[in-house]
């Protein structure tokens, strides 16, 4: 009975130690200096380190798993991205690539990922898009954004909400295929007026390097004008245009096909870059977690050793005092 009361007393005595009330903290900070509760303090500090070690270990497990997932997804999508590269080259050969063309209505198609934790690829896309916006702005010019992916939307909504024409997200819920992308490209062409579409994406070079890239798709009217004036697209006039009633009709179809092919390539390249970037980001964070774990283990072992040594000294000196 008396023991139980003592324990209860002890518990009541212990509470101020944890209480967040400043007055109590002040009192509790006095207590250790008066009474020998140092051993208790030591226990708490090792407990904290142990908890920290456990959480770091868990984080490392998660990042390792994410890295594995990214690596397997990367392998699947990389071959498809490489296969899709052949598709835009003939268009570039015929229509040229003219990023510097000066037109009135610019539409910037920003491609980004839906998820984060993949290094800087999303912010790179956004940065390049902003630069394009700035570069092409002028007194009688119009700049609009079409955004693919959650992350670019979140960043661009903040400062240029009025310029955003169209947002599409959750592209990668189903595996990417050409049909899906061409439906999406049709959607964009139907809903947006443009003279030039500029697709901004990260081109996949290797697992660790991604090139921010801009592909330009011109509207049929601009293509015709440029070809006739013998400007940047002078080569097109060498070709005889066949297959429909008028040249404009062919060019219209051609532009639509070009845009969907370019989009298909861009979306695949960006998805590949995303997986690559996520893989390397997760790799370095697992490595960081390992380093942190090593440091924490060292601290933990050192503290434990120190406390054992202190206890041993206490016991030995107590015994020798009794003997002497």
């Amino acid at each position: 009975m008396a023991m139980a009361a003592l324990r209860r007393e002890g518990r009541r005595f212990a509470t101020p130690l944890i209480s967040p009330n400043p007055a109590n903290v002040f009192r509790s900070s006095l207590i250790p200096s008066e009474e020998p509760v140092l051993s208790g303090v030591r226990c708490i500090s090792t407990q904290v380190v142990r908890n920290r070690m456990k959480s770091v270990k868990n984080i490392q497990k998660i990042t390792k798993a994410m890295k594995m997932v990214a690596a397997s997804k990367l392998r699947a999508i990389q071959t498809r991205a490489e296969n899709s590269r052949g598709l835009w080259q003939p268009f570039t050969a015929l229509l040229g690539d003219t990023p510097s063309i000066d037109v009135k209505k610019n539409v910037i198609v920003t491609i980004s990922a839906d998820k984060g934790l993949c290094g800087g690829i999303n912010s790179t896309s956004v940065k390049i898009s902003r630069a394009m916006h700035k570069l092409n702005s002028g007194p009688d010019k119009e700049n609009k954004y079409v955004i693919l992916g959650e992350k670019a939307k979140a960043q661009l909504v903040r400062d240029s909400k009025k310029d955003i024409e169209l947002v599409m997200t959750e592209l990668q819920k189903n595996p990417l295929n050409y049909t899906q992308v061409s439906v999406m490209a049709d959607d964009i062409l139907k809903n947006v007026e443009f003279d030039a579409l500029r697709i901004v994406y990260n081109k996949f070079q290797s697992v660790v390097s991604f090139l921010p890239t801009v592909s330009t798709v011109l509207s049929p009217e601009v293509v015709e004008r440029e070809a006739e004036s013998g400007g940047k697209l002078g080569d097109l006039d060498l070709y005889e245009i066949e297959g429909a009633e008028t040249k404009a009709e062919v060019l219209q179809n051609l532009t639509e096909f070009q845009f969907s092919c370019m989009m298909y390539n861009a979306v695949l390249e960006n998805a590949t870059s995303e997986q690559g970037a996520r893989m390397s980001a997760m790799d370095s964070s697992s490595r960081n977690a390992g380093d942190m774990l090593d440091r924490l283990t060292l601290t933990y072992n050192r503290t434990r050793q120190a406390s054992i040594t202190t206890e041993l000294i206490e016991i030995i000196s107590g015994a020798s005092a009794l003997e002497g």
């Binding site: 050969a93 097109l236 005889e240 245009i241 066949e242 429909a244 062919v250």
Partner: protein
């Protein structure tokens, strides 16, 4: 003088090598292409591509797209392409019958257009799978 043909779809390269002659079905009819042809850019219809190689004719089913001919290089970009030898004739015939039935069933403008397109695709595949034609 040799002629290089490459047939590309979004997913893969179907053909990439030398040929002697091809017959391409465009929106305004079939055109034959021999070496040293004048530069042409043309839309490609849903139809058959015939390729002459070592005096043998091969067929390929093309599902619409675009072709560029110039400098003895032919580049055909299409939504989908299948080599005639890769198509199973029975399966193609069945698809054609289903497509024919769908055309009869289709109601409304949009459905009719879609059913007709599907029928043309199916017919092309049957033609391409038939080596004699």
């Amino acid at each position: 003088m040799t002629l290089n043909l490459s047939v590309l779809t979004p997913n893969r390269i179907v053909w990439d090598s030398e040929v002697e002659e091809i017959v391409l079905s465009t929106n305004s009819g079939q055109i034959g292409i021999l070496p040293n042809h004048a530069p042409i850019a043309t839309a490609v219809d849903i139809g058959i591509l015939r390729i002459r190689l070592n005096d043998q004719w091969l067929t390929m089913a093309l599902m619409g797209g675009f072709a560029r001919i110039g400098n003895n290089e032919i580049t055909v970009l299409v939504n989908d392409a299948e080599k005639g030898s890769d198509i199973n004739p029975q399966e193609a015939q069945q698809t054609l019958e289903i497509a024919e039935a769908n055309v009869k069933k289709a109601e409304g403008r949009r459905q009719k257009i879609e059913a007709n397109l599907a029928l043309r695709r199916a017919r092309t595949r049957v033609e391409a799978s038939n080596p004699i034609s």
